[in-house]
Amino acid sequence: MDPGLRRGSDGEREPDGVTHKSDVLVIGGGLIGCATAWRLARAGAQVTLLEAGDINAGASGQNAGSLHFQIERRFIENGEALAEQAARIVALNRLAITDWRGLEAELGADLHVSMAGGLMVAETPEQVAMLEAKVRRESAEGLASRLIDGDQARAVAPCLAPQILAACHLPDEGHADPRAVTPAFAAAARAEGADIRTRTAVQAIRREAGAFHVGTADAAFRADRVLIACGAWTAHVAALANLHMPLYPVALLMNATERTAPVLPQLIQHVGRRLSMKQAYAGNILIGGGWPSRLAQKADGGFDLGAKASIIQASLAGNLRAAIDTVPMVERLNLIRSWTGVTAISADQLPIVGEVPRMPGLFVAGGGSAFTLGPTFARLLARAMGGERVAELDLLSPARFEHLNSFMG
């Protein structure tokens, strides 16, 4: 295609050739990037999206598709202070429940969204106590989770093991298909006129006279606002703008069994062990829950995000053991796939979403939970990038790490 014919490239000439102009430039073709591009394009903005690889090639497409709205186990296992802070994310989880309920109709696409409920189970009295504390926090934040005993849990999900003592039940939880969601957002964004370019790696980001100039190997772009939503690559891309962003890559493990008859409509998690389980629409049982894989390393130090992370055998064994202990019938199923995916976690575990105070007009989004919360982040980001003040994002603002950028920008 002749670049001159693209929308948003109507003319400003600079010494180095054509500069493609748009209102907003999104870097990253994952769930958040594509969904934000769609929201903004639908609101009438000229949007360009640049993706270094392919749409949905990173964590957005590699995760196991949980829609988890209870407070995550990772927030509970690291002490009271963090648990207290993390409880505040429940307000966003509640928005996400509403967003997911409407998404298929809004996009006119089958995303295999199933919200048949979720159970976070406990096997020991200590774990039951953790669930009790968690439910108290969630109730205070207005989430409709409730603690039920083992028999009640097995009445909800008969496949649960006899030694499950209790569970926290939330009727809104469930799962969706990571291979369908982001491509649907990308297609919707294109239909609204967004210019989405894949295999287009950003190599330079410069802010000048209130506008951003973004360079790739063979093209130049200019936009009033920029969103960096590159998952594990976010810190690298932020560095192009001379900014620090405390997002660290982590490699996780996911597994799929062969298809089987419908046995598990709910999302199953475990409060004391790393585990998520669900049955996908095709019948496969997906098993994950945050077991680590090993990031590839570069010869000169640092992690190589361009190379595949490798499976750690002890993680594989531990993950499958937790699955069998929780839902014994999976022992009879063949494991057909195990794969790794790389996401990012922030310095304080909460996602980072919003405008960077040091660089007005530059927005960042990343830091985990971004399948469940991604559509909500995107909806709120689109409002914020449109100039609105969005209080819901205050908790996740990059402003809390502004000290890192005291000498940057």
Binding site: E258, R259, Y281, A282, G283, R332, L333, N334, I336, R337
Partner: protein, 93 residues
């Protein structure tokens, strides 16, 4: 398909396996997948839309050749499962 080499080969004993009710000739030491392919059966299972799927990697990696051993109900990879005389296999369920 008639793909078996017939000249200058030594085989195990002639045996029979039953696939979806049909008796297929095989030789001891062959896999279920070999016997099925030699008999011209390329369909090993169906996808969720009912479309036929067949053996792909023939080395245990892809799981495209999952079939059911009727006696135990176990799902196995036909490419890794040795044919046993009288063994009954189903390509559905």
């Amino acid at each position: 398909m008639g793909m078996r080499i017939e000249a200058d080969v030594t085989r195990g004993n002639a045996i029979t396996i039953i696939v979806d009710g049909e008796a297929l000739p095989a030789f001891a030491g062959e896999t279920v997948a070999t016997a099925m392919l030699a008999a011209g059966r390329q369909v090993f299972r169906a996808d969720t839309g009912g479309k036929p799927r067949g053996l792909y990697c023939n080395m245990g990696t892809c799981s495209e050749c999952l079939v059911t051993i009727v006696a135990s109900g176990r799902r196995v990879r036909a490419c890794l499962t040795e044919a046993v005389d009288g063994m009954e296999i189903a390509t559905r369920g």
